[in-house]
């Protein structure tokens, strides 16, 4: 072995990397960007959840302490937890508010809440959840249960009678707190996969089609065929449209396979129309193709295409609401999420898959997605013009 040769070679490799300033910058910058985003999301205190409270409790007259209104105490306790923004509701408006996402869940305190609690030393509450985000459902249930526990504990202090502390309970059927949960969408059987799967499918479609378009267009330029195409009567619009249809079809096939696998093999819960799902994903694929064409203008080599992944793709995954619900992100990051095309697809896909919504409900997200696709289309057609003339 000749060490001189080894070092000459490593010197050459280093020189090549250093010549590509962008690679050097990315080597340092890209991991920091991705890490920072991750750190923010993992560390972020979840913002307060809007929780509706239907307090119908009539209270109980106590000979010694006067009126005992446990419903009110329960509500104060929820307030004190800091996890919620409480919104008083009446029983009739519960489902409407849930559907329009004004509240994520509603605690229903029944009329004889105080009386029953005092008599049985058990808290029985009703909780109605929006249900499409299992993580949030769990968080709400946990906080409500905790508040009920504390309410019961204060009762032992003020009422003073029963010594059997709320926290100990008696046996597993006789837990002192019972939160009876119902769901507007989904249900207890919905898990995190149900939440992530619909958008994961879409993300995969966009990701692959982005890479495909980016590399294909890059090759078109590096092998000189773009110059040749430009010398034909073909217009830029025709070229971009051709790419969109060609690669879009592949995305459609891919997505169909993934979707069927997700639903029938992985048993992900699924409602709504399959056609609508495919429509949303196709739109996202169109966005992916155009993003790819646009990005290809900024890459000289296929290696530089790969470098777009931490810059273009990962932020979309982290910030677009794929794993973290956008509502759970820090407030200052939420506007960024709204810039990500994938965010709108995510919304629409969850609405269809988890809530069983149709075109009538999801059209605003679709419209934004079409708008983004259109804008990117114009931009990438313009990009080709710029590079050809």
């Amino acid at each position: 072995m000749n060490l001189g040769r080894v070092f000459t070679l490593s010197q050459r490799v280093m020189r090549q990397v250093l010549r590509d300033h962008r690679t050097v910058a990315l080597l340092v910058f890209a991991p920091l960007l991705v890490l920072t985003l991750g750190a923010i999301l993992f560390r972020a205190e979840p913002p307060a959840i809007s929780l509706g409270v239907v307090n119908e409790d009539r209270g109980v007259q106590h000979p010694v302490v006067g009126t005992i209104a446990l419903g009110e105490r329960m509500r104060d306790e929820l307030d004190r937890s800091g996890a919620f923004i409480l919104i008083p509701l009446s029983r009739e408006e519960v489902d409407d508010r849930l559907r329009e996402s004004a509240v994520q869940g509603v605690v229903v305190i029944p009329p004889d809440f105080s009386a029953n609690t005092l008599a049985s030393r058990r808290v029985v509450l009703y909780l109605r959840l929006e249900g499409s985000n299992p993580t949030r459902s769990q968080a709400i249930t946990a906080q409500v249960t905790r508040a009920a526990m504390v309410t019961l504990a204060t009762l032992t202090l003020t009422g003073g009678s029963a010594k059997n502390s709320a926290q100990t309970g008696e046996d597993d059927t006789g837990l002192p707190v019972s939160v009876q949960t119902t769901y507007l969408f989904g249900g207890a059987e919905f898990d995190t996969l149900d939440f992530v799967a619909p958008v994961y499918v879409a993300f995969l479609a966009m990701f692959f089609v982005f890479l495909l378009a980016c590399v294909a267009f890059l090759r078109e330029r590096s092998q000189g065929t773009m110059e040749r195409l430009a010398a034909t009567p073909a217009t830029r619009t025709e070229i971009v449209l051709g790419y969109m249809i060609g690669l879009g079809l592949f995305a459609l096939v891919q997505v169909t396979v993934i979707l069927f696998y997700t639903v029938w093999v992985l048993n992900v819960h699924y409602r709504g129309s399959l056609g609508l799902l495919l429509l949303v994903i196709t739109l996202l694929a169109v966005v992916g193709v155009n993003l790819g064409i646009l990005a290809s203008a900024f890459a000289r080599t296929e290696f530089q295409v790969i470098q777009f992944i931490p810059l273009v793709i990962i932020p979309q995954v982290l910030l677009g609401g794929t794993f973290w619900a956008v509502a759970d992100m820090p407030a200052y990051l939420q506007p960024v999420a709204h810039l990500m095309p994938i965010y709108y697809a995510n919304q629409a896909l969850r609405d269809v898959m988890l809530k069983g919504w149709g075109l009538a409900e999801i059209w605003p997200n679709l419209a934004v997605l079409i708008g983004i696709a259109g804008a990117l289309f114009i931009l990438s057609a313009w990009m080709i013009r710029r590079e050809v003339t």
Binding site: Q223, E227, R228, A231, P233, T389
Partner: protein
């Protein structure tokens, strides 16, 4: 100027920042001519061809192709442009490449595709993937791609670079065949011996057209025995524009 000309450029200039790639070139090329654009590397041949075809906008001056102002997409259907490197789709076969470009020109005819492939003697390899072809075969495929839509004007940018001497002779026989069938060819080259085969020549240096004429004319005017000497003579004269 003769309106019968297939190509006319009027004092076109193209500047890239401080670099004057093409500097006041006036050309006119008639039907069925083989016009050789001769000059060293970096003399502005490719830029001139790209200006002619409308891939670049001139800084000043104008170009007319078949009587129409360039850029004009519709005219491109009758123009064939062979780029310097053999720009082909590696994953497609020879026939697929030729067919693709014919369709992009909007003038697809299976018989013409066959004819183009036969002209460059690639019939036996028409189903081969371009990826598997040697440099010479690629160059021939590339030429076929510029022919299958039956253009009236062919712009060939150094078509014989990297081509072995035998194939070079073959290429020039194709060119002559095409010219005889009425196609006009503009061929750029930096090889002087190819220039002999052109009907008319233009010497290009530093973006300027030094002289124009047939090989014999140019030699006579320069009073030199070879075209190389003639080129040097006109170059040292530092006169721009083709003095007729």
């Amino acid at each position: 100027m003769n309106s019968n000309m297939i190509l006319e450029t009027d004092e076109i200039c193209k500047h890239f920042g401080n670099i004057q790639a093409v500097n006041g070139v006036s050309l006119s090329v008639g039907h069925g001519e083989i016009y050789g654009l001769l000059g060293p590397n970096g003399s502005g041949k490719t830029t001139l061809i790209r200006l002619v075809i409308g891939l670049l906008r001139p800084t000043s001056g104008s170009v007319r192709l078949m009587g129409e102002r360039v850029p004009n997409k519709a005219i491109l259907a009758h123009v064939g442009y062979m780029t310097q490197a053999s720009a082909l789709y590696e994953e497609l076969t020879v026939a697929e490449n030729v067919t693709f470009f014919a369709r992009m020109f909007g003038r697809y005819d299976p018989a013409w595709v066959k004819e183009a492939i036969e002209l460059v003697d690639l019939h036996s390899r028409s189903r081969s993937l371009v990826r598997t072809l040697s440099g010479g075969l690629r160059q021939r495929t590339s030429l076929a791609c510029t022919l299958a839509h039956k253009p009236r004007l062919l712009l060939l940018d150094e078509p014989t670079v990297g081509v072995d001497p035998l194939l070079r002779v073959t290429f020039w026989s194709y060119f002559r065949q095409l010219a005889e069938s009425g196609v006009t060819l503009i061929v750029s080259s930096h090889v002087m011996d190819e220039a002999e085969r052109c009907d008319r020549l233009g010497f290009l240096r530093q973006g300027k057209l030094l002289a124009e004429g047939s090989a014999n004319e140019l030699r006579r005017r320069a009073g030199s025995g070879t075209l190389e000497e003639a080129f040097l003579y006109f170059g040292s004269e530092k006169v721009a524009g083709g003095s007729q």
